[in-house]
Amino acid sequence: MIIVWIILAGVVILLLALAGIYNNLVQLKNRVRNAWAQIDVQLKRRYDLIPNLVEVAKGYLKHEREVLENVTHARNLGLAAKGPQEAANADNFLTQTLKSLFAVVENYPDLKANQNMLKLQEELTTTENKISFARQYYNDETMRYNTAIQSFPTNIIAALFNFRGEELFQIQQDSERQTPKVNF
């Protein structure tokens, strides 16, 4: 009789532990999703700013059509991107085109001192920083989730209920790694 009770207690404890681990995994996964949603919001905000920027710069940069077209092109690529990897690449491309745009702007003192341009520049700086912070947060949470999925004994339950690892939001170029944030 006692043995039956012990086995029963063991089964109950096991089930409870299982439920605990499962719930924990669900929580971690939802955090990753929430973190991704944050990146998405910031990326969208940045894409929304680009047309204004092009509009302001167009009047001054009559001979630099190409640079502006590149920026617009990069924005369109970003809007069409799906999944962390594609989005990361598109975002990276946009960052580079913006960099070359601002390098050109340096040669136009009138545009540089333009009130609207200054405001847009501040907005872009803050959005860019927000993206990098959101990315950092997403990667932290994803790392936490992936570690949970891969470690014992959670990995058994993860495999059982089909929890799959998430992609990190990574940047491909080595040169990009050294300039994390925009500062003035």
């Binding site: 944050q38 001192a113 333009n114 009130q115 803050t126 950092q136 944030k181 500062n183």
Partner: protein, 487 residues
């Protein structure tokens, strides 16, 4: 990973309960002592009169119980009153205001707060600005989960974007770790009252000094206030035992984890440490809320258990050396890298925008909105006069974006060398009409140290500067600030 940024830690609850019990104990002890003194006094008197025997049970348990009950009630009342709207009360005591979104510096600060919110996983934090040239920053939290990060105008003007981000990151780290709630509670229990009393005391001394006859009641009031004040200050000092200085190290570490920039935080701490942090303006009893104590205290710079117990901030040197080693650099390289901001000429920096319908008091042509050192002012395009609101002017005088031309420097130097003028020169005259209310503006000197004549409307609180006048005042205020900081 020590912290998850989603859950605000509730671990500090035990510490808050401990603070409450501490308040109860303080009340109980003081009440008991008072009771014994009164009892002793009366019994002594009775004994002298009646020559009866000394009572055997000097401390009765029934009495102790009643005293405890009463003091518990008093402590609970004190607690409840102090906790109510504590955030608003402290913000008011610090004269902190929500950022003005027409101001470029304030906009950038708001953006930085939003950035740090994103880094914390989407927290909601409210920004506030103290209109002071001191360099400091603070964080507040309350039981409802409202979070506030405040920063002084001086800090906004002196630090660059990444340094500001590091400071805001440090304050956000306090909020995430739950330190801020503990600090806010501990400050509102005694510190806030002591800060308010300090203000009253200052006012009373001032009025006592200006009045010719010194009356006895005034002195009595002062004595009572002084007694209560020193008691509050002492209790606050004891309460600081609950605030560990480890919290600052931890917040530094967490800030680095948030912003990934230990160098910027080290630079910010270095700059703050070498400047005026608000001693005299920010009450010392609220000091534990700030990134660096407003007042320089020897206790803060010491190690050992006494400093550990009673000091709220660790030695700045120790904090710096940890951050510097995180950034793989050393203090000399850090010092070299801190450069003053690039300045531009005032004409280059003010661009005219649209008009809001006010007319220039001199030329009666429309005034245009303009950005002057990041602040919004109105400018006349024909006579180059400037119309500035008083609170905006305070910001402009703190900021150092513009360089001064040779002529401005010469005028400023000349005015600085002037001795005090004869009394009749200080008389107020009325010349121009206020562009807002059309009443006459007072023409007077800016103050006795800056002998520049301005036109001031006391009801609209705006000042009209003729061409170059504001720049001369800026030159003078910067000159005095330099001289003060050198000492």
């Amino acid at each position: 990973m020590p912290y998850s940024f989603i859950e605000i830690e509730k671990r500090k609850k035990t510490a808050i309960v401990a603070i409450f019990l501490f308040v109860v104990a303080l009340y109980f002890l003081s009440a008991q002592i008072l009771w014994i003194i009164t009892k002793g006094f009366f019994i002594l008197e009775a004994e002298l009169k009646l020559k009866t025997d000394y009572p055997k049970h000097f401390i009765l348990w029934k009495e102790v119980f009643i005293v405890f009950l009463l003091s518990f009630l008093a402590a609970a009342l004190h607690w409840a009153i102090s906790i109510r709207h504590m955030q608003e009360k402290i913000l008011k005591a610090l004269a902190a205001q929500a950022p003005d979104l027409n101001d470029a510096y304030h906009r950038a600060f708001q953006n930085i707060i939003e950035e740090v919110c994103v880094a914390c996983g989407g927290q909601k934090i409210q920004g506030y600005v103290i209109a002071s040239s001191a360099l400091n920053a603070f964080a507040l939290a309350d039981f409802r989960g409202n979070k506030v990060i405040g920063i002084s105008e001086g800090l906004l003007a002196r630090l660059n974007r990444s340094q500001l981000e590091a400071v805001v990151g440090h304050e956000a780290a306090h909020l995430i770790a739950g330190d801020s709630l503990l600090k806010t509670v501990s400050c509102s229990i005694f510190g806030l009252y002591s800060a308010l009393l300090e203000g009253i005391e200052r006012g009373m001394f001032y009025s006592a000094n200006t009045k010719k006859e010194k009356n006895a009641t005034g002195v009595l009031y002062l004595m009572v206030i002084y007694l209560v004040l020193s008691l509050m200050r002492f209790f606050n000092f004891l309460l600081n035992m609950f605030l560990s200085r480890e919290q600052e190290y931890r917040a530094d570490a967490l800030a680095v984890r948030l912003t990934r920039n230990p160098l910027a935080l080290a630079e910010a701490l270095y700059i703050i440490g070498r400047s005026w942090r608000g001693a005299g303006q920010i009450s010392d009893s609220l000091g534990s809320l700030f990134i660096v104590s407003p007042k320089y205290k020897i206790l803060d710079e010491e190690t050992g258990w006494i400093a550990e117990l009673f000091s709220t901030h660790p030695p700045l040197k120790a904090r710096l050396s940890i951050l510097i080693s995180m950034a793989h650099t050393d203090i000399n390289i850090l010092k070299e890298n801190i450069k003053p901001k690039l300045r531009i000429a005032a004409e280059q920096g003010t661009e005219i925008m649209q008009s809001i319908g006010n007319l220039c008091p001199e030329c009666k042509t429309p005034l245009f909105l303009a950005e002057y050192e990041g602040a919004q002012i109105e400018k006349c395009s024909s006579c180059a006069g400037l119309l500035v609101k008083e609170d905006v002017l305070r910001r402009i005088l703190i900021r150092e974006d513009f360089s001064f031309s040779q002529s401005i420097a010469q005028i400023g130097q000349h005015l600085a060398n002037l001795a005090y003028l004869p009394k009749e020169k200080y008389e107020v005259s009325f010349m121009l009409d206020c562009p807002y209310c059309q009443k006459k503006m007072q023409r007077k000197f800016f103050n006795t140290a800056y002998l520049v004549q301005i036109d001031y409307c006391p009801s609209c609180q705006v000042i009209w500067f003729d061409k170059n006048e504001l720049e001369v005042i800026q030159y003078l205020s910067e000159k005095y600030r330099r001289e003060l900081n050198k000492e």
